[in-house]
Amino acid sequence: MITLKGIYKYYDSKFQRTFVLKDIDLEISEGEFVTIMGPSGAGKSTLLNIIGMLDEPSEGEYHFLDQPAHQLSEKKKVEFHRNFVGFIFQAFHLIDEMTVYENIETPLIYKGVKSGIRKGMVAEMLDRFNIVAKKDLFPAQLSGGQQQLAGIARAVVGKPKLLLADEPTGNLHSGQGKQIMELLSQLNSEGITIIQVTHNEEFARFGKRIIRISDGLVLSDDIVSDTNEPN
């Protein structure tokens, strides 16, 4: 599903070129649950953003579903965001002026889903994530965990093939975090490909494959053995 070949990312300043990603080769197939780990500043978010087409590689090839993503037009990228990918952020990034309901509904509006169908889909999400009672509240009226639930609901309501989560539990205490991780596993078991970034070893193990990067280089790429899987 995702093929990265010789991806470089660098920033040019006046005197020097700083490399953030160096010659990354990566293959991720449909249905995987990948965790990216590494020290702060290693380039994790950068890599995730390139995969999510929020950022462009400086060099290299990126194929998504056999399409050359590094050559996509702005219009195609919008299509990609609409139809194939959902984002979850550490800072939740809900829109303050919208209720929970409206936040979740937003991607469907952009997709052009008819209002009748939209209602059903949003209701299903509210139900599934247990936030029906909160649907008319604004983000500021929710706890962090509830906000992240709404964030996930918004990310998956459009039935994306790929879910990108950059430290989704970073702003939550571990209880809430765990709940979120279980949700992600469940979504993965229903077929959504997930790539997450986390600093938490325990949460990392919810993924089925852990890629460790440091200084822009891939250090290791391991399959998580079932025996180690937490329960």
Binding site: N49, G52, L54, D55, E56, K75, V78, H81, R82, N83, F87, F89, H93, L94, I95, D96, E97, M98, E102, T106, P107, I109, Y110, K111, R154, G158
Partner: protein, 761 residues
């Protein structure tokens, strides 16, 4: 979708209630002022355009004397010899008060028009009642406007009644509607100028006395005007030797052209220009408020746009949601503006002595300019969004802080602009006030205090015996009869070879002592030598002679020189004036030292006993002269009000800025306070930008204001000085106003509990 967006926009307005309210009200008040000024200008520009034929109506203007008064006798020639002219009508307007008499009543009525029956047709006048088929039934008929009829005759039927207008005996033969407010031809009594005695205006030139009038022409088509003008200039001279060069002036150009001498009602073109300028400035100031508001809100928008993009929003979605924010804002501002205009219109009508109607709003030019302005600011709001989308990728939008910093220089520049404009306006106001005080207090060169002027209608009584009768009262020691008095000298003479205009007065031997005018050299005029005259110092200068002795002016021997005194308003420097002995009926009475009210009642009693029911009218010179500055006072009124509004708009902008700065620095303030910063330090941190801005604005504003005010003062021959303290005072006032505006908000921010501030993020 649109509805959903508007709902969300409304929430974000509500969230920033104070900030949004300041932004909207700031813009709305500026926009309303613009609308009202627009109404005023549109109204002034539409004078005479209500006439169906206005494009085809012209009048003749004497190009050499710049006067509309032209030999009456060419009327028949115009009518018959030129096929381009469909109709022609003589219209001579005397805008002054005229004394009118009925069998049992006498009053002053303003505005007499001498014309013919053609007038009513060409100018679309509605005749409501008439004796015969034509408004003027005969040569001695008069026509009254509805309001004049009820003033003179009350409820009784005016038709067929005798009416004496000054010395002209008439019979009322018709009643017409009042002239509309937007007509440059205005009057209340119309008399028939087919009767040669009724032609109101005589001229003396080339050794003959002849009547003059303004000839209005209805052309067959307005395209023919240039051709006609050429032909008229080639041929008119052969019909009348009194006509040298004429120009055609279109009806709609008359109202705002004050260079041509006529009796029409005129507008104030410089007031229109200044108001247009002020209107544009106020619009700019409020647009600046609006832009600052939009830029400040961007901080939040960046993040939101980032989120929306990750959710798959296309450009159109982003635009729609953004535009709905702005649109809601504009709609609210528009509603508030309309309410403001509607409720303040009576006030402005009072201020300008006009009658603007709210329904001017629906006139096409006003609607079009409103739509254009609103579209413009709508587009203006979209520019930052489009720039943003082209410049930044989603990732940096989500990390908004770095991007939003970049708006600060724009906000500074715009605020400095607003402050500069405010300082220029404050300086302008101070200079305006200073000049008005200066001209009002200036020594006019004659004893204007307790000096009375009495208007005596033609043959109302025996002028000289009235004067003598008044002097019998012990408290009245001086009185003089003259033709022309300071403030109203109409007799002038120009000559191609002269670089000056001579003014003439007929005076008696009491004039100088009554007026308190100093005789510098020579002797007073007397009844014995009627070909001798007095001149003022300005005449000597103009004639370039150093000594009066043995010199002549206009064929009269100069026998004395008087000290210059102001006989026109202080716009003009003192002009050459020639005074010769003559019998006049302008009576000046010096009441200094007298008990004014008892002297007045004596004068009134004497008047009533000596005249047959002639209305008594008088002025005191000092207040009469002051009234000549009505234009300046009206201007100063308008400028004061509008400048105050401009300054308030700027203050609202500053207030918005400080709210924005203090909320975006809430966290910083909290951290500084936790680390031991004092309130005064926080205050100076928040306020120092504003002080810097005022200082910069002062530097920018001073030379502009200095230049502009110098230019304006050039309109006056006698002008006040542009003292340095005006500028200093204006700077201090601006600083004071700015600090006063921001201090309350920054005080609130600085004294907030730091714990609360830190939790806020």
């Amino acid at each position: 979708m649109i509805l959903r967006n508007l709902r969300i926009s409304l929430r974000s307005l509500k969230r920033n209630k104070l900030f949004s309210a300041i932004g909207i009200v700031g813009f709305a008040s500026g926009f309303s002022v613009c609308l009202i000024i627009g109404f005023y200008i549109y109204n002034e520009l539409s004078v005479d355009k209500h006439l169906r034929n206005h494009e085809k109506i012209y009048r003749l203007v004497d190009a050499t004397s710049n006067s509309s008064g032209i030999d009456y006798r060419i009327h028949d020639v115009l009518k018959e010899e030129y096929p381009a002219i469909e109709k022609v009508v003589p219209v001579e307007i005397s805008p002054m008060n005229a004394d009118v008499y009925t069998d049992n009543n006498s009053i002053y009525i303003k505005g007499i028009i001498a014309t013919t029956n053609e007038f009513f047709d060409i100018f679309g006048v509605n005749v409501t009642e008439s004796i015969s088929g034509q408004p003027f039934a005969g040569q001695n008929s008069s026509v009254l406007t509805r309001s004049a009829a009820s003033k003179i005759f009350g409820d009784s039927n005016p038709l067929g009644q005798a009416l004496k207008v000054s010395h002209i005996e008439t019979t009322v033969s018709a009643v017409i509607d009042d002239f509309p407010a937007n007509s440059s031809i205005d009057g209340n009594i119309l008399i028939n100028s087919e009767n040669a005695d009724n032609r109101l205006n005589n001229s003396f030139a080339n050794n003959e006395i002849f009547s003059t009038t303004t000839h209005y022409l209805l052309l067959r088509s307005s395209n023919e005007s240039t051709g006609l003008e050429k032909i008229l200039n080639q041929t008119l001279g052969s019909y009348s030797r009194q006509v040298k060069e004429v120009r055609l002036q279109q009806l709609k150009d008359i109202y705002l052209n004050t260079t041509i001498i006529d009796g029409n009602k005129h507008g104030n073109q410089s007031l229109i220009r200044i108001l247009a300028l002020i209107g544009i400035i106020i619009l700019l100031l409020s647009v600046v408020n609006y832009i600052n508001y939009i830029l400040s809100l961007q901080l939040k928008k960046y993040n939101e746009i980032g989120i929306r993009k990750t959710n798959g929003a296309g450009l159109s979605h982003l635009l729609i949601s953004y535009v709905s924010d702005v649109l809601l804002w504009i709609i609210l501002a528009l509603i508030i503006s309309l309410i403001l205009v509607k409720s303040t219109l009576p006030f402005f009508n009072n201020l300008f002595q006009i009658r603007l109607q709210f329904n001017l709003l629906y006139s096409t030019p006003i609607v079009i300019s409103c739509v254009l302005i609103l579209l413009f600011i709508l587009l203006l709001a979209c520019i930052p969004l489009l720039l943003l989308l082209s410049k930044y990728d989603v990732q940096s939008l989500l990390k908004n802080k770095t991007v939003s910093r970049k708006n600060k220089p724009y906000i500074s520049v715009l605020t400095i602009f607003q402050l500069s404009v405010s300082i220029v306006l404050i300086i302008g106001l101070l200079v305006l006030q200073k000049q008005i005080i200066y001209v009002k207090n200036r020594d006019l060169g004659f004893a204007d205090n307790a000096l009375l002027y009495i208007k005596i209608p033609y043959k109302a009584l025996n002028y000289e015996s009235f004067r003598e009768e008044l002097l019998k009262n012990p408290s009245i020691s001086k009185a003089s009869l003259s033709t022309g008095v300071p403030g109203s000298i109409w007799s002038r003479m120009n000559h191609e070879d002269w670089s000056y205009t001579l003014h003439f007065m007929d005076i008696d031997e009491h004039f100088l002592s009554t007026m308190g005018i100093e005789l510098l050299a020579g002797e007073n005029v007397s009844s014995n030598d009627k070909d001798k005259c007095l001149v003022n110092e300005a005449t000597l200068k103009a004639l370039e002679i150093s000594d009066y002795k043995g010199n002549q002016v206009n064929g009269m021997n100069i026998v004395g020189v008087v000290k210059d005194f102001n006989f026109a308003a202080l716009h003009q420097s003192i002009q050459p004036l020639v005074m010769k002995y003559g019998n006049g009926r302008d009576l000046s009475v010096n009441l200094s030292g007298a008990d004014i009210s008892s002297a007045m009642s004596h004068i009134r009693k004497t008047w009533e006993s000596m005249t047959a029911n002639v209305p008594f009218e008088y002025y005191f010179y000092d207040s009469w002269f002051d009234s000549q500055y009505k234009k300046e006072e009206q201007l100063s009124y308008a400028c004061t009000i509008f400048s105050l509004i401009a300054i308030i708009i700027t203050c609202l902008g500053l207030w918005g800025q400080i709210i924005f700065i203090s909320t975006s620095k809430t966290k910083e303030i909290g951290i500084r306070k936790v680390n031991g910063a004092r309130v005064s330090e926080i205050l100076s941190m928040l306020n120092k930008d504003f002080v810097k801005w005022v200082a910069l604005a002062f530097v920018i504003a001073t030379p502009i204001a200095w230049y502009a005010m110098n230019k304006w003062l050039e309109n006056f021959a006698f002008k006040t000085e542009l003292s340095w303290w005006i500028f200093a005072l204006a700077g201090l006032m601006a600083l004071g106003i700015a600090l006063l505006t921001v201090s309350w908000q920054s005080w609130k921010a600085a004294t907030r509990n730091p714990v609360e501030a830190l939790r806020y993020e």
